[in-house]
Amino acid sequence: MTVPLMRVQGLTRHFERPRSLAQRIAREPRSVVHAVNGVDLTLWRGETLGLIGESGCGKSTLGRTLLRLVEPSAGQVEFDGQDLLALAPSAMQRARARLQIIFQDPYASLNPRKSVRQIVALPLRLHGGLDAAEIDARVEAMLARVGFRPEQYDRYPHQFSGGQRQRIGIARALVSRPDLVVCDEPVSALDVSIKAQILELLAELKAEFSLTYLFVSHDIAAVGHIADRIAVMYLGRIVEIGPAAQLIEAPRHPYTQSLLSAVPRLNPGAPRQRIVLQGDLPSPLAPPSGCAFHTRCPVAMPQCALAVPRLQALPGVADHLGACLRLEPEAPKDLCTPP
């Protein structure tokens, strides 16, 4: 896991909100949503990087920006030595065979007018180089691998359950033999027993096809189970990143600590110390100054409102980075104890 597959630097995506006529006449400035705000990230070949955070923190936008499904506003994305953002459309199209995505909603992400065979064949037809017989052979092999029977190949998405549709989405993503797969909430719409089946399938396929996953989800337990490393996002920025077990068992950033303390556990009778955050996620239209978390942070200091803390290596823990003034060596230690 020491060869980088993708390196991301200063990746930023802003969305401008359209102004009303009155706002244009009054020459009000456009309001800008900072969905992804200067993210630095390295994806190592063969790893699963989990990306967690609350809705609206920018985790899905980050996943899509890496594949240029959403064009970044600024920053660099280097994929396997190639500058992805410099690629011409035709070259980008070729690169997309190696960069795939599995979507959350197995209902909305499949074309209802196409059979399963057509849906899974489309990436191969687009990326070219194969004749019809080869395409058919690869599609059938992939469909069989994700658990379909031959008589199901020519059925349509509505004839399948949610878990089966997610298998179709997985087959479509993997049929072009990608290197990197962004899994955007792939199990969030599924029931417990089906969720476990899909997680198991994703883990098996990763080993079989030497894949690298960026696993985006708000389901922290599922991410903890499948990921090697976990990155935590808050309002467009990564606030903590580290090895999965270490980050879940001993989170360092106050946001990660409160997020994890909110995850329900299956220990009847065990006492819980829960850090219940007050309020909702602030609007990304007007993120708070300095550390964006300081408005909800239980251990905020006055200086937290002034400067954006840098994501830096934490002393004493390997490969673990955090962005918090409290985690810097000279910070007051009075309140900064993990729960």
């Binding site: 089946q197 337990a221 903890g224 077990a245 909110a262 329900p264 556990r265 299956l266 955050l277």
Partner: protein, 362 residues
């Protein structure tokens, strides 16, 4: 949690739609809500779909009962049937629903309306669809107060409205909506997901019901907001002394919030009992499978083992154990209808193999 697990009938129902209804035991006098043999079905082109099959359960005063099951297990339809909210062509074909000394199934529509929203209230999973997008939250909150509060009925109109608005502000503050008075004129889309769920809870609680049925109240929410909403429901349960039915598919939520739990599978209750028993030492292979299939942050290294197969179609189910096809313990005896039975560890389970092999999942 009051007393031991309540008695439920052990009648064998071989086919849900047989001509003679299964015999029932008397309703539990200590229960606030006591459901016996409830059966609800829906017509489909391929035959009757029995969504709720002979379900019996009790909700004790002041307790939180968890109802766990996957999509299609019948957990929501059970409580829609309890509330008299099953619309034709769906039919509640059998069963009794005892609530505050009356069988709700014998009430006419008008009497049922006086119970619903006033003595028992329901919050739904998707607050954005459940709330009316074209009315302000103030209008939606005062509607329920004006409909149910007899004390207001005698007042002059303006005064009645003012009092209802006061109550609306009080309820919104109670569920933790900041600056409640200034937000009465806002529409549902102007609130965040967590705030909308709070407004649903505020509407449900506006008449101080004895029973709150919360159908997946936190499924669409982030864990941080989920923690806030669950804490709110628990706090209101303690201060208002009401009972709560928490319908969820999240075993963690049940473990942390509920006193007792019933597990539903394919329209039937398959296991019921105190949370510590069901989560700590489940007896039904389905409950055991659910626990093994749930990724747990406190056991990161433990393998997550899926339950093979899928839920059976609820149309024309054979009279046998419904979990049979997915069960690792399946045996000859499972081909007969399986009744609910007492399990040695003080809970009840619908499995012929369970008392033989009570397996502890850690």
């Amino acid at each position: 949690m009051k007393g031991a697990a309540p008695e439920m009938h052990t009648a064998v129902s071989s086919t849900p739609l047989q001509a003679t209804a299964p015999p029932m035991h008397a309703p539990n006098p200590d229960a606030l809500l006591c459901v016996r043999g409830l059966t609800t079905r829906f017509p489909t082109p391929r035959g009757w779909l029995v969504a709720v099959d002979d379900v019996s359960l009790d909700v004790l005063p002041g307790e939180c009962l968890g109802v766990v099951g996957e999509s299609g297990s019948g957990k929501s339809v059970t409580f829609a049937s309890v509330m008299g909210l099953v619309r034709p062509p769906g039919q509640v074909v059998a069963g009794e629903v005892w609530f505050e000394g009356r069988d709700l199934r014998t009430l006419d529509a008008q009497a049922m309306r006086r119970v619903r929203g006033k003595r028992m209230a329901l919050t739904m999973q998707d607050a954005l669809t459940a709330l009316n997008p074209s009315l302000t939250v103030g209008q939606q909150l005062t509607e329920v107060v004006l409909a149910h509060d007899e004390r207001l009925a005698t007042l002059p109109r303006a005064q009645r409205r003012r009092q209802a608005l006061d109550r609306a502000v009080e309820m919104m503050s109670l569920v933790g909506i900041p600056a409640a008075a200034t937000r009465l004129d806002d529409h549902p889309h102007q609130f965040s997901g967590g705030m909308r769920q709070r407004i649903m809870i505020a509407i449900a609680l506006a008449c101080r019901p004895q029973l709150l049925i919360a159908d997946e109240p936190t499924t669409a929410l982030d864990v941080t907001i989920q923690a806030q909403v669950l804490e709110l429901i628990g706090q209101l349960r303690r201060t208002l002394g009401m009972s709560v039915v928490l319908i969820t598919h999240d075993l963690g939520v049940v473990t942390e919030q509920c006193d007792r739990v019933i597990v539903m599978y394919a329209g039937q209750v398959v296991e019921s009992g105190p949370v510590a028993q069901i989560i700590g030492a489940p007896a039904h292979p389905y409950t055991q499978g659910l626990l093994r299939a749930t990724p747990r942050v406190e056991h990161l290294g433990a393998p997550v083992r899926p339950i093979p197969g899928t839920v059976p179609s609820l149309i024309d189910l054979p009279a046998q154990c419904r979990f049979l096809d997915r069960c690792s313990l399946a045996a000859e005896a499972c081909l007969a209808p399986v009744p609910m039975a007492h399990h040695p560890t003080a809970h009840r389970v619908r499995c012929v193999r369970a008392p033989v092999q009570p397996e502890t999942v850690t």
